[in-house]
Symmetry: C2
Subunit: 362 residues, 2 copies
């Protein structure tokens, strides 16, 4: 039996005795040929099992892939489990859908540094979400001659960006704590670099952080407390590599063990804060009477329990990233979008326990 090679535009044209152009037009520009001929073309296509123009060949010719690449260096499951990331993804997906563009998740194995996947992705542009500034995949993306938008981090010169004022937002939150009387606090943050450091993060490490968002949030907290007369280098900052409630809990434990006098735990994400809350509960500490705990992001689980935090519009961020990339945004505007955040006064922050601590500091 003869194994027929799959039909192509050319073979279809030959069968019909017309030019390839005409067959192409039958699919792409119906107005360029008579309805009758078009009908014949389509019918013959069906008969020969021709599935229509090959998308890859078309992409090559038109220089359009019809898809947006998404790079997240984290473990994929991180993106699917973190509510903030999820909101971003949803927003991005909506923007893509509006524009009829596919969303191509670039496979990144965080173990080996396999940059090839970035080069293999046939996409019209990239959205880079929350990767460290020294990530080799990021470099690979930037080397590709397609437009790129960075969300949150890192900040790259000349590359469009969408984000929030992390520093200012958390400064406002910290000022609120200061106004309540907190002077002796501990900080829980996400990982600051690609290497694992589950423990205290000295000031040098904070400054050298490859994750801009974390760096900015720490700086924002430092801003407020420094002005309030607290020496930042003496404020304990605990870092965790994995972003999970378990991490938040163990970090809180580490802080409370090292300094039981701490009156507030400032966490750089809601997930971490939820973990810290669990640890406080485990220790029989009442929140906020015995301990103040704050987060960052404004995720649903946090809202449900009244977490004091900063709410950021994650869905809008994803949408904005998509629109920026797909050019739905006014091209005369500076190509950097900073979205508004909102301080959420929850039920997990209150004045510190004792009057001494409140008035005279630790």
């Amino acid at each position: 039996m003869h194994v027929r090679r799959p039909a192509t535009l050319a073979s279809l044209a030959a069968e019909l005795g017309v030019s390839r152009t005409t067959v192409s037009n039958a699919y792409n520009r119906p107005d360029q040929l008579s309805p009758e001929l078009r009908r014949r073309v389509l019918e013959t296509a069906r008969r020969l099992g021709y599935p229509g123009p090959d998308p890859v060949a078309r992409s090559l010719r038109t220089r359009k892939a019809g898809a947006v690449g998404l790079l997240l260096t984290e473990n994929l499951s991180y993106a699917f489990r973190d509510p903030a990331a999820l909101g971003f993804l949803e927003g991005l997906a909506l923007a893509c859908e509006d524009a009829g563009q596919g969303l191509h998740l670039v496979p990144v194995n965080p173990e080996r540094e396999d940059v090839a996947a970035v080069h293999r992705a046939g996409v019209d542009g990239f959205v880079v979400y929350s990767v460290p500034d020294d990530d080799p995949h990021l470099a690979a993306v930037l080397s590709r001659p397609v437009p790129t938008v960075v969300a949150d981090q890192p900040i790259v010169d000349g590359v469009d960006r969408v984000g929030i004022d992390d520093r200012g937002a958390i400064t406002a939150l910290a000022q609120r704590l200061i106004a309540l009387g907190h002077r002796r606090v501990g900080v829980v943050c996400m990982r600051l670099a690609r290497d694992r450091n589950d423990g205290f993060a000295p000031v040098e490490r904070q400054h050298a952080a490859h994750f801009h968002v974390q760096r900015a949030r720490l700086a924002g907290i430092a801003d407020a407390f420094t002005i309030a007369g607290v020496e930042w280098s003496r404020v304990p900052v605990v870092e965790r590599f994995d972003h999970s409630t378990a991490s938040g809990a163990s970090a809180a434990a580490q802080l409370l063990d090292s300094d039981p006098q701490v009156t507030a735990l400032v966490c750089t994400s809601d997930i971490l804060a939820l973990g810290a809350l669990a640890e406080a509960k485990r220790r029989g500490l009442r929140v906020p009477q015995d301990l103040t705990i704050t987060g960052f992001d404004g995720i649903p689980d946090g809202e449900r329990i009244g977490l004091t935090t900063v709410r950021q519009p994650v869905l809008e961020k994803g949408k904005a990233a998509g629109k920026l990339l797909l050019g739905t945004v006014d091209p005369t505007r500076p190509r950097e979008i900073t979205l508004e955040t909102e301080l959420v006064t929850g039920a997990t922050a209150a004045p510190p326990r004792t009057a001494e601590e409140r008035w005279f500091g630790p």
Copy 2:
């Protein structure tokens, strides 16, 4: 100023005075040329800003796109909102990551029937997740000459499939309710077809359902209750188009309004069940003392509150779909995978309220 066209393999070869083959080999088969020449090639590439072989052109030549397409008829963002879909997506993404394949989410606008996106996707295969069997996008996917795997639904002859025994699983759950004494129940299900029908679904509509999973689950409930002597056609089944807790709540309301004697609400998804729980609470009905409510899926939010349900391994399902498509599965086995489910005895099911109802039926 001269606008230089972007460098290509050919221009690079010309610059170096070597053949295109050699440049190609420098990237793809380093062993085919001397290290010295390779170094020169790569260096010149850097100097000229050549980003490496164009992925689309390569795909055309090699007939490999390096990506898997995912079709879900719902909005793309649905995948990021529905916990079960999300789990599937995560599993699929993991499988793709393992295989170094990208995951291309096909944008589908459920409003207009824009099948073009399916034809435009440059992928090596498709995973179809939970679409109605008369979906035009499905037809478009099947017309493409690439391997396809269907997850959950629909069942298509000759197409690989991964799923669970929906019918059997929910039969077991229903039997549990029957054992508890429930005879007068209401059912809340997801949409049965592409047309909107927010209301009661008569038996004919149930049988004609284009969503196999829903059809199977209804049939499974019917199996159990029929054997128990309950006439299925008199069991009220309420359908909701949108899959949300709001839908679950309004459907529960509709059922309870139409028959306040109902002792249990069987929902075909946890999301719907969570909504039903909210509605019960709103009405001051205690669950399970006054009303039994069950779900299906085993999502985290349900687990947290102790929902009685059927847990299905959504992550594994996604992984299995990926592996099936990417050929990591023993090719001699039948290409249909049915995963195990587990009946979850939660705290939302109990015997019906009154002794009369329990022993003598409604």
